[in-house]
């Protein structure tokens, strides 16, 4: 899958590109809007990551040009301006999603996955990792054949972690997707940490093999092997 990253900040662009490479994406870089437009004509691109503060014309203008030229691939805007007005302008210009810098890398990955998923929606009735099974219909979880007594929030949390198994999820993602909070604020981070600790006790407490791991400074991940 090809991603075009339009970003003039070289250090950030290279870091993001390397991270995306690691996740198996093919990434090409454009330092300006003009460069991006000509790249689009010469290569196939599945998704565009577009910075707003570009030299010359702004990302919003470049985006409008792309849409006028008939390019329909999903566009994720990256910007350090987070006012509601900017969001509206971006989405009006034809963006599919909006991410504020500085962003957590797992968040970027999740957004990319979400934009890609739009193309092929998948419905599962159950989710599984190792000996952990989640029945989505009856909202029950069991590990090694033994039922786990989870609260509603713990189930939601586990479901989200399982949907993203193998990928790190950040606190921002959990606040938005599990706690359904539009605005992230500090007290919520503490709540998330406590909730994760409790879930871990129920999930991994009696088992030799740990599934829920903390990635220090980044977030949490559900996976079989030790990182």
């Amino acid at each position: 899958m090809n991603i075009l990253l339009v970003e003039d900040e070289r250090k950030l662009a290279e870091a993001v590109a390397e991270g995306l490479h690691g996740e198996g994406y093919a990434v090409s870089l454009s330092p300006s809007g003009e460069h991006a437009l000509s790249s689009l004509r010469h290569q196939h691109v599945d998704l565009i990551l577009l910075d707003v503060m570009l030299p010359g014309r702004s990302g919003f203008e470049v985006l409008a040009d792309m849409r006028r030229a008939g390019f329909k691939m999903p566009v994720l805007i990256l910007t350090s301006r987070d006012s509601i007005d900017d969001r509206v302008v971006g989405l009006d210009a034809g963006a599919d999603d909006y991410l504020v810098k500085p962003f957590a890398f797992p968040e970027l990955l999740a957004r990319i996955r979400a934009l890609m998923r739009r193309k092929l929606p998948a419905i599962f009735s159950s989710l599984q990792i190792a000996d952990l099974t989640l029945e989505l219909e009856g909202r029950t979880a069991s590990r090694g054949g033994k039922k786990l007594e989870l609260t509603g929030r713990e189930f939601d949390l586990l479901e989200y972690l399982l949907q993203n198994r193998g990928s790190v999820v950040s606190r921002e993602m959990l606040a938005r997707e599990v706690w359904k909070q539009v605005m992230r604020y500090t007290p919520l981070d503490n709540v998330i940490d406590v909730q994760i600790t409790r879930l871990r006790r129920k999930l991994d407490g009696e088992f030799q093999k740990k599934l829920l791991h903390t990635v220090r400074g980044v977030g949490f991940v559900l996976r079989e092997d030790e990182p």
Binding site: D85, M183, T186, P187, L188, N190, V194, R198, R216
Partner: protein, 464 residues
């Protein structure tokens, strides 16, 4: 500045002198008119007296001619005798007598119907030789014959008296105006002196000397009032400046701390070869500090945007009790960890209009604060009630904050006990954010002492 100031002084003086001069002229006119009227009336009375005398002295001689017994007077040179103009005629107009002073000119021409019949008729007449006289006429009967006696004196003396009087008064005008002008100029100087002193002092006040104040010479007059108003302004400026200075110092400290950790953790990580796990730990530790920095910058941006009035509010009407339940539902887990219990009470019918998300953020910061500083296994109360406003009160059982610090807890980076707060993971912005979140919604937030112990944060929102 100096030019404008002296202009005001000149203008004040000019105004003062003009008004004073105008009043003086009006006074002189009135006084002159009064003097004229008085002199005229004195002349009239003298004439009436004289005509009575003359009537007693008139008699018909045996030959039928009319004569005046002037020998009656002791002093023939008496002014009344010398200056008197007199004419006697029959009511039909036949002249019987004209005195020498008249030199055979007529006095007032033919008689009018009923002239002098009722009393002493008075009029002003000009003689043929140009002399203006005041004439009075009276009918007097001698030997059963009615006689019209006309008697007059020149008004020259009256006119001269008035002109002398006027001249005397006018002579006094220039020195009076000069004295008034000098006094006014001096007075304007004295009145404007406090202003000048204030200006001189104000010129020396700079950002570094905001503790200086303007001189207040008389606190009760207008200048004193202005000086007090300006001093209040200076006090508020000083306050803001001090706040800003403290904020800058605090902010640089708070921002430098995580930067210093990132730097030293990174440098130590590169000092020698580590295992992969150790590197992970190093990078994770750096990322944690980055998160802390990001939160702090986000918080500061929110507050400064609020300060600049750039927050777009999305007001809705909702039940504050629901909001309280929601916040407690989110944060209850933290209380649960400490064995605390949060009790929500209040009126479910109260409504407020506010930006729900913003208010939730504010309330969450306060409830989290209560959880953080209350001892384990205590109660925290969230009460929604109605007074003049809709009140959301959060009561904890932490150590009561001393009264003099209660306003300060809402300031950015304020910590009662620096080390303890940082251990608890606070950014030092929670309550500052709560304050702006509430104030942006038109409400207010205060901190009081709890009923028996602890603290009581009260959010007051306008009633819908």
């Amino acid at each position: 500045m100096i030019l404008r100031y002296s202009n005001v002084r000149h203008r004040l003086t000019l105004w003062y002198v003009s008004v004073f001069g105008l009043v003086l002229l009006l006074f002189i006119c009135a006084a002159t008119l009064l003097e004229y009227w008085q002199l005229s009336s004195r002349l009239y009375h003298a004439e009436v007296q004289d005509i009575e005398t003359v009537e007693g002295l008139l008699a018909f001689a045996p030959d039928g001619s009319l004569i005046l017994h002037e020998e009656y007077h002791n002093h023939p040179e008496h002014i009344l005798l010398l200056d008197r103009y007199m004419e006697v005629m029959t009511p039909e107009g036949q002249v019987l007598l004209r005195n020498a002073k008249l030199r055979w000119q007529d006095l007032g021409g033919p008689p009018f119907p009923n002239e002098g019949l009722a009393s002493y008729d008075k009029r002003s007449v000009r003689l043929r030789d140009g002399t203006r006289v005041l004439l009075i006429s009276h009918i007097h009967t001698i030997d059963n014959r009615p006689l019209l006696i006309r008697l007059a004196y020149s008004t020259e003396s009256v006119e001269q008296g008035v002109i002398q009087f006027l001249g005397l008064l006018l002579l006094a005008v220039p020195p009076t105006l000069l004295i008034a002008g000098l006094a006014g100029y001096r007075m304007a100087y004295k009145v404007l002196l406090p202003l000048k002193n204030m200006a001189l002092r104000a010129e020396t006040i700079t950002a570094n000397q905001l503790d200086q104040r303007l001189p207040v010479e008389n606190p009760n007059d207008e200048m004193g009032y202005m000086a007090r108003v300006l001093n209040d302004l200076l006090a508020r400026l000083q306050d803001s400046f001090d706040n800003l200075k403290r904020f800058t110092a605090d902010a640089s400290h708070e921002l430098r701390t995580p930067l210093a950790s990132i730097r030293s953790v990174g440098e130590v990580g590169l000092q020698r070869l580590h295992t992969a796990d150790e590197y992970r730990d190093t990078i994770g530790s750096m990322l944690e500090e980055v998160t802390r920095l990001t939160e702090m910058v986000d918080g500061l941006l929110s507050i400064s945007r609020a300060d600049a009035g750039q927050v777009a509010l999305h007001g809705t009407i909702f039940t504050p009790l629901d909001l309280a339940r929601e916040v407690v539902g989110l944060l209850g887990l933290l209380a649960d960890e400490k064995g605390q219990h949060i009790q929500i009470e209040g009126n479910a019918n109260l409504l407020v209009r506010a930006d729900r998300m913003l208010l939730q953020r504010g309330l969450a910061n306060i409830v989290e604060n209560a959880i953080k500083y209350s001892p384990p296994s205590t109660m925290i109360y969230v009460r929604v009630s109605r007074s003049e406003t809709v009140d959301i009160a959060v009561e904890d059982s932490g150590a009561t904050i001393p009264e003099d610090l209660r306003q300060k807890v809402f300031e950015r980076f304020f910590r009662i006990d620096a080390s303890r707060s940082r251990d608890a993971g606070g950014s030092g912005l929670g309550l500052a954010i709560a304050k702006w979140a509430v104030e942006a919604n038109g409400g207010s937030i205060t901190l009081q002492a709890g009923h028996d112990r602890g603290n009581r944060f009260v959010i007051r929102l306008p009633v819908v």
